[in-house]
Symmetry: C2
Subunit: 287 residues, 2 copies
């Protein structure tokens, strides 16, 4: 646990659930004097002011970052390298740029984009809920959650400590991890489950189009999938494209699991099916 | 809504979550005088007595059904035709046999197995929770749930009305449906989601075996899947084997959905991915 940091000016680029909640908790803990929001939707930015997540806003990231101590990139992950290029010439010396994206490997490029004397620390808070947008934000979102930082050999250690202490102040447990390891692990435990939930819901949508009313019989199991598949489509599009190779590998492994169960059903293998299902049941006890 | 039925003796074969909860609510509503449990585990049957779900128990279904007004087949669905054969010679005239299985088409065979003057009504209460066994049973389980009955052209209408009024007394809304339509719909909205949850959990188990610790990073999405995959493996084995052709059809449709998303990712089709995810998101609003 590092000591509490203090930022005179924090800029949040993308004031949604994550960016908004981080702003709220940083203000609540008194670790920031002024928060500036940057976004595309004026309505959302006005909501952010009304909710006291930010003090003011602008549509131009380059204006906002001038003089800022810390910049949080909280926009969809595929836009972050472009945003880094945009703000790079306007950062003050000593400024820290960090992000909250769900994919980390490709973002190491930002280290080369930012000027000497400014610092990039890649981060991924493991938090979220069904609803998105700043109106869903709340200061307790990160309480008892994990936040993963993925420094490289080139990352400034003091900057890592500062970002770590910010997340700890927000209530998160911080873990350090290699960016490539991060992307493979989260392809498996997070990106794959989301993709297959989307695929299931779309399978049922096609059936619904053929024979109206099927979805009205949906019980417990399917409802959980629709909740997962109700996540922000822009965010998941970006994750799929940025973590393409890991997600494709996981989908292929998963297709083999499906093929195995199909074969067991097709060959009436009662013992094999029982074992396959019993094995899965035990995982819950491990969690 | 039919008038309240009354049974002097009800036999529950398979006193688990569903059978136990039905016994509890029928006693609570005063529509049954004596409940006899039949099962394989003495411990479970003793628990059922302690919980006042049943008055007494036996291991022999044929003994229990003598003189009974209504027999509830609540054992795993693949055993029900065998159970029907076992009890058929011992039923009294006018006895009603019903079941709570998740697959209905193959059970129409029971109509031919039972003797003249006794009645079979196939049923499927849409209720359940993660835990199984009678210790998880409670009388409110069916409150505001749906219960589907699947009479055929040969099914006795008075027997259907009696079983319907029993489920309505238990708090369920009763729907009548063709058995084949039932099996196709539930292959899609219930059996498919369970099978793919098992497949996902087993995919991650194999990754965990290769690189220890992956599962410890599991967040929201994956946890929902482990809950679905924690369902009773014997029950799901039976459902897969009894509803084989519908489930294989749904798995093939689902594989095409997965293949479509893989292609969109592989070809970096941002617009296509966004549309695919956005379409799935809207289903939740329909539910």
């Amino acid at each position: 646990m590092s000591s509490l940091p203090h930022f005179r000016r924090m800029v949040i680029i993308g004031v949604g659930l994550i960016g908004g909640s981080l702003a709220l908790v940083c203000r609540e803990k008194g670790i920031v004097s002024e928060v500036v929001g940057v976004g595309r939707s004026e309505k959302n930015l006005q909501d952010a002011i009304a909710l006291k997540a930010i003090d003011r806003y602008t549509f131009k990231a380059e204006d906002a970052v001038k003089g800022a101590d810390i910049i949080i990139l909280a926009a969809p992950v595929r836009s972050l390298i472009r945003l880094a290029r945009e703000i790079a010439p306007h950062l003050k010396a000593g400024a820290i740029v960090t992000d909250v994206g769900s994919v980390k490997g490709p973002l190491t490029e930002i280290e080369d984009i930012l000027p000497q004397g400014t610092y990039f620390v890649a981060g991924h808070p493991i938090a979220g809920k069904e609803k998105s947008g700043v109106t869903a934000a709340f200061s307790q979102l990160f309480q008892n959650s994990k936040c993963i930082l993925t420094p490289t050999a080139n990352t400034n250690r003091d900057a890592v400590n500062t970002v770590q202490s910010m997340w700890e102040a927000a209530g998160a447990k911080v873990l350090l991890m290699d960016p490539e390891a991060h992307d493979r692990i989260f392809a498996a435990v997070s990106h794959l489950p989301h993709v297959i939930a989307y695929a299931l819901v779309n399978t049922l949508l096609e059936l619904e189009n053929e024979s109206d009313g099927i979805i009205s019989y949906a019980a417990g199991g399917f409802r959980d999938f629709t909740r997962i598949a109700a996540s922000h489509p822009e965010m998941w599009r970006d994750i799929c494209l940025m973590n393409k190779h890991n997600i494709l590998e996981m989908l292929e492994r998963y297709e083999r699991s499906i093929a195995k169960i199909k074969l067991l059903i097709r060959s009436d293998d009662a013992v094999g099916l029982y074992n396959e299902f019993e094995r899965a049941r035990q995982v819950r006890e491990k969690l």
